[in-house]
Assembly symmetry: C2
Homo-oligomer: 202 residues x 2
């Protein structure tokens, strides 16, 4: 044996893989899944198309990884806010705000995660993550009901309405560009969400 991967070499490969995922994420956020060809992604990462296949067995596998990383971050952040400090209604309010704010800050990515046309493998992953978003919202709604802050209700449906509303706001260039309009939009959205869960209006 005249060659063995040295630790440095291993971490270099690992870094290349991470870089590829990062660049692919940017491309997807920019132009959507359908336009993110292997060549486009490889170009963005500064490698040849063939080299992609050293890190992933197929384009679909790369796409799924990109999706999981990005969606995983959102689930994590949302989970921390919804499961954090404060009473259930406060947490719900902050959760909606954080979810929507992050989405508006990176619309391209949010659109890719929530709604953009994608290959079946990504579609399946998306269903799974939407279920997770819903489960997180549903849990805090249930806590609110248990604490007597919210009226009895089907928490799953309320949760669906919340993700649905946020999704709709993003799909379409509904939110204006300037800061004031964005603030207003977030306030209106949060108000609708609280009403939807049955929280007394402020």
């Amino acid at each position: 044996m005249a060659y063995r991967k040295t630790p440095a070499e291993i971490s270099r490969l690992e870094a290349a893989r991470e870089r590829l995922i990062g660049c692919a994420t940017e491309v997807v956020a920019d132009v959507g899944w359908s336009q993110a060809s292997v060549n486009a992604v490889a170009d963005a990462a500064g490698i040849a198309a063939g080299s992609v296949y050293q890190h992933f067995p197929s384009k679909a596998a790369l796409a799924v990884e990109v999706f999981r990383r990005a969606a995983g971050r959102e689930v994590e952040v949302l989970g921390e806010v919804l499961g954090g400090a404060g009473d259930p209604v406060e947490r719900l309010s902050r959760g909606v705000d954080v979810f929507a704010r992050r989405a508006l800050e990176n619309r391209g990515l949010a659109y890719a995660l929530l709604a953009a046309p994608a290959e079946p493998a990504v579609g399946a992953e998306r269903l799974d993550f939407r279920r997770r978003y819903r489960a997180l919202f549903a849990e805090v709604v249930r806590e609110g009901v248990a604490a007597g802050q919210l009226p009895p209700q089907n928490a799953e449906i309320t949760a669906a309405a919340l993700t649905g509303a946020i999704g709709e706001v993003l799909v379409d260039p509904l939110a204006a560009a300037d800061e004031n309009a964005t603030q207003q939009l977030l306030a209106d959205l949060t108000a609708a969400a609280l009403r939807c869960a049955g929280a007394p209006t402020a």
Copy 2:
């Protein structure tokens, strides 16, 4: 001139075109846009693939026509209910019920219209129709606010939440198969919708 289309021939062609659209709609409802190849659709209609191009210049044009017909029917029905008799809150309640009920009755088609992966031309059409659904809901919410039945709110966002909630319920096999569960689901969904718009709970 030894040949001229006779009226009977013209209506036969028209009928063939309608039949093609109908069969294509069924195929799409059954297997989704991505699996609805020209061959599959032509087979379903009992004609050759090439014959499709006598009625439509491209597959995309056929797909758009299929979408418009089906989505147009839904918009029309929803519009009639929301713009019909009764006070705004009653109409909103019935509108949500009708929209969701029709969707649950033909899930495949509803999924195709609201969420299934589709080619860009259909995606653009979908955005347009989602805007129409929202506009219809928003109008009745505005009327409710004007009538003092609903609190002041951003009607567009409430409308987005309504379509979003219904969409979420459909995307996922959330609704159970039996009749009782469906009734309960519709009741819960309507309740969430009314809360979302700020109507006093029953």
